[in-house]
């Protein structure tokens, strides 16, 4: 059932993101075209420069959108298909709510990864010499651990995304418990949970700072310069990944519990 649900959820999300993918791929082609023709005397004008600048600005926003839009569509899809009219079908399918939630989370992650790939493709089109080697050139290769670090970073980004969307889902599940102003309450719950998480993060960072060997870091903590910093950095990224996945799991479980015991499609 998870596979089936995932198919429908991915399809629904893809329907909302594909135009952005087209924009993300077409705009850098346009920028390259601008670069190519700007040296021609015909286009050597202030007006052309302004148009080129505006075009660049639009492109920049399309890149930002490629990161934000997957979150927006995932949250919007959850609201529409679980808590609005379409929820009357979704919630009466012979599928457990755990699977329904998981499928929506995984579909969000898949679309997020796809957006990441489109973003890289877009940058590659923009810059002829774009390469991953150049991108990661700043990282010192120590004992061949760079690949491990990159994998850990990707995992951390995915974990952060997972934690973000489950937090949105939980906020909406809490908001729907109220009879009136469900949307407003969802926003309030989101900020309350965010505030709680910031306090938790602060406490965890203080604990981290207490245990870390300050002697090795007293020259200033420039990550990954020394071997000790490398290890500490890896541990930090690893811990953040686990932290986000654990929080995401907790939010998921509470959201599923609410939908099983307190669903209020009034």
């Amino acid at each position: 059932m998870l596979g089936l649900r995932l198919k429908y959820d991915c399809k629904a999300l893809f329907r909302m993101v594909w135009p952005l993918y087209i924009v993300g791929i077409v705009l850098p082609i346009g920028i390259r075209l601008f670069h190519w023709i700007q040296d021609l005397p015909l286009f050597d004008s202030f007006v052309f420069e302004m148009i080129s600048l505006m075009y660049g600005g639009i492109y920049f926003f399309s890149l930002v959108a490629l990161v934000i839009w997957p979150i927006v569509v995932t949250v919007r899809d959850f609201f529409n298909t679980m808590l609005k009219d379409e929820g009357y079908l979704t919630n009466t399918l012979p599928v457990s709510r755990n699977i329904l939630f998981l499928s929506k989370e995984l579909a969000g992650l898949i679309i997020f990864c796809l957006s990441g790939l489109v973003l890289m493709l877009s940058l590659w089109i923009l810059s002829s010499d774009f390469s991953f080697e150049v991108m990661f050139a700043g990282l010192p290769i120590q004992d061949g651990r760079t690949i491990g670090f990159i994998i850990l970073m990707v995992l951390m980004i995915l974990a952060s995304f997972y934690q973000s969307i489950t937090m949105f889902f939980l906020s909406m599940m809490l908001g729907q418990l109220h009879r009136l102003h469900k949307g407003l309450f969802s926003v309030v719950y989101y900020f309350v949970i965010s505030f709680g998480l910031q306090i938790l993060a602060l406490i965890l960072l203080m604990i981290f700072a207490y245990f870390v060997d300050n002697f090795h870091l007293e020259q200033g903590f420039t990550l990954f310069v020394t071997s000790y910093e490398w290890v500490v950095g890896m541990m930090l990224v690893g811990a953040l990944t686990i932290y986000n996945f654990v929080l995401g799991g907790i939010f998921h479980s509470v959201g599923v519990w609410i939908s099983n015991h307190k669903l209020n499609l009034e």
């Binding site: 298909t81 379409e86 929820g87 009034e266």
Partner: protein, 231 residues
């Protein structure tokens, strides 16, 4: 075993009592009219049966089980609103139902859609409200479910199409199955009802055999309803 049993169900929304300690038992093979004015608690009761709300008190049992995955396999539910993804085509909606409901008869659905002259390639968002309701009704009635729960199935369609819809409902279901049909268009459904439940301000005021009620009072269900619920 009864197909549906609501025991001592109470549901409140804030201070408003939507259902007040109601008891309902439905036997297989009956067409039951759930009749009441607006705000009487009909939709709340239906949502409780379909696991869209949870009761504050009491228990719901469908075929001996609490609402959940197993009961959703045997209950075919038509809500009062449009619940299909507007971006889908009718064909995709059929595929969704075939994918998730083992008892869905796709050929039957295609036949019924043809009867209603609804194209499989139409997008849901391009259909009129009445046609959307017909598509949903076809989807719901093309299942071989044990319990059909229809919430205002004819509210959005023109009077001329109501008889056709009612005929579709009657011709589509297995006689062993039970249909719980909520409506305030009593005159339209009266002829098919085996049993009636009158709901008034969250309380059941009548639950009895339709024919017995008609014979005993010498009036139609519609007349009795109008007298019972006169403002």
């Amino acid at each position: 075993m009864s197909i549906l049993e609501l025991k001592n169900i109470t549901k409140k929304f804030g201070s408003k009592v939507a259902l007040d300690s109601i008891h309902v038992t439905l036997q297989p093979g009956k067409i039951v009219g759930l009749l009441g004015t607006n705000g009487s608690g009909k939709t709340t009761m239906i949502k409780l049966i379909n696991d869209l709300l949870t009761p504050d008190q009491g228990t719901v049992q469908i075929n001996g089980k609490k609402p959940g995955i197993d009961t959703k396999k045997i209950v075919s539910y038509l809500p009062e609103r449009s619940y299909l993804d507007p971006g889908m085509t009718v064909k995709e909606a059929l595929r969704l139902f075939s994918d998730f409901y083992a008892d869905f008869d796709r050929k039957k659905a295609e036949g019924l859609l043809q009867e209603f002259s609804i194209s499989l390639d139409s997008r849901i968002k391009t259909l009129s409200k009445g046609t959307r309701e017909k598509v949903q009704l076809v989807l719901v009635m093309s299942r071989k479910a044990k319990l059909f729960v229809l919430d205002e199935p004819m509210a959005g369609v023109d009077p001329a199409a109501r008889d056709h819809i009612l005929d579709t409902i009657l011709s589509s279901y297995d006689e062993e199955a039970t249909i719980l049909i909520s409506t305030h268009l009593i005159a339209d459904v009266e002829r098919v009802l085996d049993e009636v439940i009158f709901l008034d301000h969250g309380k059941i005021t009548r639950q009895e055999d339709a024919d017995e009620l008609r014979i005993r009072t010498g009036k139609s269900i519609d007349q009795i309803f109008r007298e019972d619920f006169r403002c």
